[in-house]
Every structure is written in C-alpha cells, then in structure tokens.
Assembly symmetry: C2
Homo-oligomer: 403 residues x 2
C-alpha cells in the first residue's frame, strides 16, 4: 500500500527517483503539529533546494518581488482557491486568501483587534484548550476597550470531572443579534473534538453572526463549504505544510469592516490589498505549502484525500471500540475528531508500555498533549493509510496480550 | 578564490561532497533580501532534508516540543549569544534572545505597543525609507492613545531634492530626557546609509533614552557591542537565514517594563518567558539560521566575516570612485553602507544596459529598489568575495567602454 502511494505521488510530481534512503526507514509520524509531510514533497523540495525554477538559486534566495517567487506565491493561492473552492466575488460574495505569520495564537489577537471595536460584542464557543486560549486573548483585549466578549457555550469538563468531551448540543451555542462574529475551533487538537465530521455534514447553526473559525487542524482534509464562515484561519503545520505561515480565508466585507485605527501590520486589509506581499512573507513556507497542495491534487483532490483520511480514523476508532475494557476514548461518539484520535489505557503505566511498543515498531508522536496525557494519534493528510493500519493492528494485538 | 572558499566551508561543515550541480552554475546573487545563502548551508540542508538529527524525519516534521528540535532551537540561540557576545545577566545587565514572526514591519508595531504606554514619549531618527515606515506605524499607534512620538531627526532628502543621503550630523539626533526609547535604522537597505561603519566604531550618542535599533540588514556581519542598544531586531533574511523569523535582542529590564495590557502574543515577555516556544515557532527558519551561524563560526567568526565584508564593499566603492564621471553614489562618503552599495549611471538607459551586461555575466539582484531605481549591490554575509570582485571588474570595464 505504502509503496503504491509512493509511486502514485512520484508520478504526479514527475520527480527524479533515487532517494539515498529507502522508504522503509521513515518512522510512522503521528505528530500533532508540526506534523508529517508527504515524502514526495520532501523529495521534490530536496531535489530543487539549490535550484528553484531553473534559476540556480534556492527558493529561499529569491526576492519576494521577483518573477520566480511571485509565480509560486500566486500558484499556491490558486491551488488553495481551486481545491477548497474559495469564491472570488466582491463584498460578502467573495473571500481573500491571506498569508499571515504568527500562527493561530496571533489570530487569537488579530481577530478581535480587527473585528471587535469598542461598543461591539462577539460570542465564543469553547470546546477545548485552543478555544479557551482564543477567548482569553479576546477578553484581555475587551478589558482595555475593544468591545465585549461573551462565552456562548463551554463544553470543556472542569478539572477532575471525568465527563466525556463533546460538542455543544443543538441550540446550545448561538450568537446574539448584533454580535459582530461568533468564534469557534472546528477541531480541538488536544481534546480530540471536531465539528461536523459526518460525510457531507454542514456546521451547526450558530445564529446570525458571521462564524470565525480556527481551522488549524481541520483545513483541506476534505471538501468543505467555506461560505459557512466569515473568516477561517489555519496554521499550515498540520494539514498543509511546515510551521511559519497561517492561511486566512476572509470574506471581503469583513476585510473592509475591519478597524483602520490599529497598526498597519495587524490589519487584514494590509494583507488583502498587497496580496500578502506588503512586507517579506515567509517565502519558503508558502512555496512548500504549494507543493503539498500539488501533491493533494495529484492524489485526486479533496474527495480522494477525504476517503483516505476517513479510513485512517475509522481504523483507530474501530480498534478502540473493539476493546472497550482496555481502551477508552474520552470523547462522545458524535464529537470524535477524525484528525486527532485520543484514547486512554487503564493506567498511566499501561500507556507508557503501549508507547514503548509503538516506538519499537517505528511509530512516533503518539504521546498525548502534556496537559492531558494519554495517547493521541494525529492523522493529518500526510499520514499514510498504512501507518494507521499498523497502529490499529498494534492496538488489537496489544489489547490481546495485555487486556 | 571561490573554489578555495567552497573547500573551506565544506571542511567546516564536514558535509558530503558531490553536489549534482557544479559551483560555477550558481548565479552571483546580490539580492537585497531574501538574499544569498551560503552554498555549504544549502547543501547541508538538502542532505539532511529527509533525515534530521538521525531521526529519519525532516526537521519540518519534528514537534517543536521534541528533543531534536528543541536542541536545534537552543543551539541557534547559544550560537547567536556566543558569536554576537550577548550578555546573559539579569535586569539591565542581560538580554533575552527572542524569535518572533512577521519581520521588521511587525516590530514597527510591537515596539511602541510594548514600550510606549499612554503619557510616555519616544524619539525616532529617520535616515531612509524603513525609518519612515517605522515612525509612521508608531505615530498611528500614538494617535489612538499609545503615547507621543517625535521625529528627532530626518535626513531623507525630499522628493526631487538631489542632495546626498546621509547620517545625522553629530548632535543632530538626540532623545529627550524622559523618552522611553529612541528608534533608528542602523542600516537603510534601500537608501544605502549605515551608522558606524568605521572599523571598531561605536554608535553615535543619541542621548539618555535606550536605543531601539532596526538591524535587519546590519546584524552579525561584524563584531558589535549590543550594550549600546536597549532592543535590536532583525529579520533573518539578509545576513542570517531565510525569511520568516525575526531575531529580537532585548534588555531584560525592557521586557519587564513592557505593557501587560496588550494581547499576549504581542508582548515581548511572552516570548522571553517561554524561550520563544509559547506557540509553534517557525522551526525550519530557526534551524536554518543555526546552520548559517555555524557556517560563520566555521569561517572563523565575526572578525573573519567582517574582514571579508569590508573587502567586498571596498571593491565596489573603489570602482565607483575610480570613474566619478560615470558612476555616482547618492550617499555621503561617511554615511555609505557596507551592506547595500547604491550607485547611479548617467542615464536610466545606461543603467538598463549595465544591468543587462551584469546579467549576461551571471549576476542577479542588482536593480535598485523600485522606489528609487539605479543600481544596488547587497553584500550580506553569504555573498562571496569573488562575486564582489567580479562586479567591480565589470564596473571598471564597463566604464572604460561606455564612460
């Protein structure tokens, strides 16, 4: 399976064959982000690292104002627009695609700075640790005069409470009339809670306000209708590329509505007006994201990658549910993330033993976030189906031996 | 000369020999930033792109919380501290080294956000286009209640004025008692104006306030006493690495003095407290900067790189001054930048012809900034002495044929 995929992606890329390292030497990488990148992308990057676009220079050595880099920059945007189907109309009918630095944590500040002027209100839906960080940053800003922030729903169990993690119940999380936006985290990387994972599902109804979504670990793993969002942002380092660049997809009327009395570099309109070339962008990260998007196209696009991703998550959840006395997923069934599968074993010692066995079989990145412990398998786009199958096999075997 | 340097840097790196592309195929890259990177660094990066630290994974695929990346992160900082000699004491006796995203333009906002609370004042010294951008951002912030900003000196000729670009005269640029800082741009990349270029020179006296310096195109090309600065920041993409990371060297009492009522991600203390690992850093850019620093160490450190850099600039300025009727440097002799040598030919047509000849000889990146035109040779650390010699030879030859 793995060998076949390698051949497929190599063909799509038309790269030179002949890596100095056999494919079997690569660990199975389940890191939560920065995460696995497609082998074919890394090989292509390596092969052209000293000679980008036939220039004899590395892509890192090109001016961001030069034709070679600008072509890569525009191509990355064109691929994002085409893959995700991002509308290009004006006002509320169109979206800008921006490249900002600083990660989701920077967006936690940039969103309210732009969209929460004094006298306005916004709602925050909290389903995990990242939503908590987002609302904390917005509240701190509100305290110094940047409008008013309200938590419209928080489903995170309090410390010591053993309740399952979950999404809001229908109707539990609704913005108020007049809110300038409602913010949520579509997939909680640490908690393993994800919205709208059923095939073809839309986001629930959050009321009248535009939805601002942290999609850092949820972007481009399947087809999604971006018209559900006023603004969606995503650090690239999970499904799209390396760390160092954040994709912001923002409705053009919200760009215009943004405050103009904040620093230039913190306004979305600065990035929109200059095609994210107001100042030097993180050129290498944008270039590499373009290669990952090309790789997704080569696989067959979002429909193919979605089927691949669903199969990976199903394999792990099936292994959990096959041994309910041994493995326990701390998330309600309808709220389970397909990107970050979290599970516990009976004791911390059993978890340590499991991680050691996984490591011995060449699996890495499976320890849960240091704040919650347990096991977490992140299954982003570049995680190969064979790795998920291998993990599921280990889980079944391990439960037989130790359960 | 060029071949000898290649051998030297290869030995320092202990990299495998055997690039698929002969050294002579590489263009001579005079880009202003993103700029040339050392060939040995690119080769090392290529060779370990799929296998960092013996892990079988790319450096881009490692968690920023993992041992391998954290070691690279700390090593980059240790190399910066040792090369630049950054004091590690407490309070006003020590400096933190931070990695922030967003480039110098982000610092134009972050500096006054942190250090210019309501009721305080700051002075700005403007010697070129980047200083003008910095003060504009600070003034916009001051207009919404962030303190008061004063231009203490502006030496930029007004549009249409043919006066030479220059540094402030002695005593022309002094902060006022009570200013929280005085900001300046130690090297103006577009204008070709640089402070304190004489061997061993200190910065002029700017009065009592701590000096905040944009050193984006001025860092680590020679030995400098950082104790002259309260805060120095530098986008890496000129002397240190690829775009996507900004080095901030900040006195610890200024970290503490920074406002705490601004967003977490915009406070210097957030980066200082978490060793720039509060959120996911641009791991690849920090790793690559570490390789460039290692390369500088391998060459012999800042003293050796300084001699190399002085020789490059001298070669070009000598060629300009040897044909004063043909080449004209728009900068006063004592203000001339050793990093960005700017010059004009008698007519725009003559400049176009010169650029075409340079291009035919394998030189790239020599067109002046689109806002000013003319010729600009950027001579950052990775620009090889042989390239500067080749450019100087072309200039002399070209002047003979066309002067």
């Amino acid at each position: 399976m793995r060998a076949r995929l390698d051949v497929l992606t190599r063909v799509a890329f038309d790269t030179r064959i002949g890596s100095p390292m056999p494919a079997t030497d690569r660990p199975m990488n389940f890191n939560a982000g920065p995460a696995a990148l497609p082998r074919a992308v890394l090989e292509r990057c390596r092969d052209e690292l000293l000679d980008f676009d036939g220039s004899g220079l590395s892509v890192m050595e090109h001016s961001h104002r030069g034709a070679s880099y600008e072509r890569a920059h525009r191509q990355t945007t064109a691929r994002l627009r085409s893959l995700i189907d991002i509308p290009d109309g004006s006002g509320a009918q169109g979206y800008d695609v921006l490249y900002v630095q600083g990660g989701a944590s920077h967006q936690f500040a940039m969103v309210p700075l732009n969209l929460l002027p004094a006298g306005s209100t916004a709602g925050y839906v909290v389903t995990g640790a990242w939503g908590e960080r987002a609302v904390a940053e917005a509240k701190a800003l509100a305290a110094t005069g940047g409008g008013d922030v309200r938590v419209v729903a928080n489903t995170v169990p309090s410390k010591g409470d053993d309740a399952l993690r979950r999404l809001p119940r229908p109707g539990e999380a609704r913005s108020s009339v007049g809110d300038t936006y409602v913010h949520l985290t579509t997939n909680e990387t640490i908690d393993g809670v994800q919205f709208a994972t059923a095939p073809g599902a839309s986001m629930p109804d959050f009321g009248p306000a535009p939805v601002v979504a942290d999609m850092s670990s949820d972007i481009a793993w399947r087809r999604v209708d971006v018209r559900q969002f006023g603004l969606a942002y995503a650090g690239a380092q999970k499904n799209l590329g390396p760390s160092g660049v954040t994709v912001v997809i923002i409705r053009r009327d919200l760009v215009e509505a943004g405050r103009a009395d904040i620093p230039t570099i913190l306004q979305y309109r600065t990035f929109a007006k200059h095609d994210s070339l107001y100042n030097t962008p993180p050129t290498f990260a944008i270039y590499l994201m373009g290669l990952v998007l090309e790789w997704i196209e080569g696989l067959g696009g979002l429909d193919v990658i979605e089927a691949r991703n669903r199969a990976k998550a199903a394999a792990i959840y099936d292994a959990i549910d096959a041994s309910p006395a041994f493995y326990r997923c701390p998330v309600e069934v309808g709220s389970r993330s397909l990107m970050n599968v979290t599970f516990r074993l009976p004791t911390p010692e059993a978890e340590t033993r499991f991680l050691a066995e996984a490591s011995a079989q060449g699996m890495t990145g499976l320890a849960g976030h240091r704040s919650v412990g347990g096991i977490r398998a992140s299954l982003y786009n570049a995680v190969e189906p064979a790795w998920a199958q291998a993990l599921a096999s280990l889980m079944r075997d391990h439960a037989m031996r130790h359960g």
